[in-house]
């Protein structure tokens, strides 16, 4: 695949380069096999921010779990830096789609953010500093003593993000993290994500089904086809690095990119029926 950004902002982690090669995932259930992902190949350079869009059920979550080492691909491989991903690699954090269930309700917000750091064997003082800093950067400096269930949905999502960035990952995977929050919060969280990415310089793989969001956030947009999934298109987002909700979205280039991605997504939905018509289909 082409389009890997050469210019990465801030720190350069060569270890943060991500390569997905020929990944295929078939779910083998009792009496039901689903080919969620057929053949995905792409690379994300260290320190890049790539958005993945695709229709619901396209296998975006499946792909992310394979990248995170939580699922073993049926065939193909995922490489992080120069090592093959076989289990959850150190230095990778995932923000799950179901953030409410990903926070532990029996722990306070502070403890939720701190626990992964404890597992990483970070000293107490440094942990406290990291937790405070992370909560501060998501605007939740007053919440460490609260329980997740005492917070609003958007606040819970910010806790999940704070937990991920306190972990200081080289690679951050985010699975439709803002799907369930209101437009205002969503805009704030988008800007937060971009500013954290620019500040910390990690590799970010951001899954969404929102085309605007993908163009606004990403340096690159990968369009997936409907299930069984392949990468249909890889689009470079050549918008200025400094983005702002109103002005950036008003740029003519934004509209062009948005239209381009929209076109590809529309095509993605019918991609396989077209292929099937050509006699190449073995859809489930």
């Amino acid at each position: 695949m082409t389009g890997t950004k050469a210019a990465a902002p801030a720190t350069e982690y060569s270890a943060g380069a991500l390569a997905v090669r020929g990944v295929r995932k078939v779910y083998q259930g009792s009496g039901r096999t689903v080919e969620a992902v057929r053949d995905l190949t792409f690379t994300v350079g260290a320190g890049d921010l790539a958005c993945i869009v695709g229709p619901s059920g396209a296998g975006k979550t499946t792909l992310l779990k394979c990248v995170a080492g939580l699922l073993a691909p049926t065939s193909g491989e995922v490489r992080l830096g120069d090592a093959r991903v076989q289990g959850p690699p150190p230095g990778m954090a995932v923000v799950f789609q179901e953030y409410g269930r990903s926070l532990f309700p029996w722990m306070t917000v502070g403890a939720n953010v701190e626990l992964p750091l404890k597992q990483k064997k970070i000293g107490k003082a440094e942990r406290a500093a990291l937790v405070a800093q992370a909560l501060d950067s998501v605007g939740l400096q007053d919440a460490p003593a609260a329980y997740p269930w005492q917070l609003s949905g958007g606040m819970q999502q910010r806790v999940a993000i704070a937990r991920a960035i306190a972990y200081e990952p080289k690679v951050l995977l985010m699975d439709e993290p803002f799907a369930a929050v209101d437009a205002q919060t969503r805009a704030e969280l988008e800007d937060l994500t971009r500013s954290l990415w620019r500040k910390l310089g990690m590799t970010v793989l951001f899954v969404t089904h929102d085309i605007d969001e993908a163009v606004y956030l990403g340096e690159r947009v990968l369009v997936l086809s409907a299930s069984p999934t392949v990468v249909m298109e890889d689009i470079d987002v050549d918008l200025p690095a400094e983005r702002e909700q109103l002005t950036t979205r008003a740029l003519p280039r934004f509209a062009e990119l948005r239209a381009a991605v929209y076109g590809h997504v529309q095509r993605a939905k019918t991609f396989h029926s077209a292929a099937a018509a050509a006699g190449a289909g073995d859809r489930p």
Partner: protein
Amino acid sequence: MRVHQRADTGRPPALSPAADRPPDPPATAVPAPAAPSAAARLRAVPDAALGVLGIVLFAAVLELLPRLGAVPAKYLPPFSEMLGALGDELGSGAFWTALLDTVEGWAYGLAIAVVAGTALGLVIGSVEVLRKATASTIEFLRPIPSVALIPLAVLVLGTGLGSTLLLVVYAAFWPVLLQVLGGVRDVDPVARDTAVGYGFSPWARLRHVVWPTTLPYLMTGLRLAASVALILTVSSQLIIGSPGLGSEIARAQSSNAIPRMYALVLVAGALGVCVNVLARALERRVLSWHTSVRTEARA
């Protein structure tokens, strides 16, 4: 899965941990844990009053039935006579020894059952192969009524505390084991993925994810087991004759001291109430973060 497990125990866990993750949590920002509302306080007073009224009415019926000749006083002495006998009991050392024996049998039996049920439940529940391999055995052993083991217990362990313990442990073990198994199975896949993704060791996952998820189930199991253990303690003493309230009840009956027999039965009942209150208090304390407790505080 939980449905299946409910059908098994016939008693749904009062706490259903899945409910604890509301899809759209309250939008309020960081409130202090809800204090009982004014409405709750208003309702709480009549509740308690009604409870007392119920007990008074029940006592009155017990008093009147024999006095009016509706039942022979020989078999059901008036409530006041039972109370008189109870007063005599409270003054006798033998009664207190018997009570202590019963509490002791209950506590040891329950402790052993809870520790064993929890440990085995966590191990079996965490290892898929073990869970599948033991499922049918558990289904076979569990329904065996503990009292059916009395001949065996007496044969092997005699008529002392050992026999009582065997029966109590056997009966109290199953609710704990089944609840813990259900709890381990209820671990949220997203929570598990989160822990795995952040590189938690298996021990850390058990400690920080599986254990807190299981705890509400364990508390339910503990509450069920506590009642069952008391029932088994008293009945094994009654049948085997090992020292305790049960054997005192049997003795009172055989020596025709009917009011005394009822007095002891009342004590056994009171003990049951205490056990339940204790178990619920513990449950509330341990699970302050849990929905069932949270909403209880608010309702």
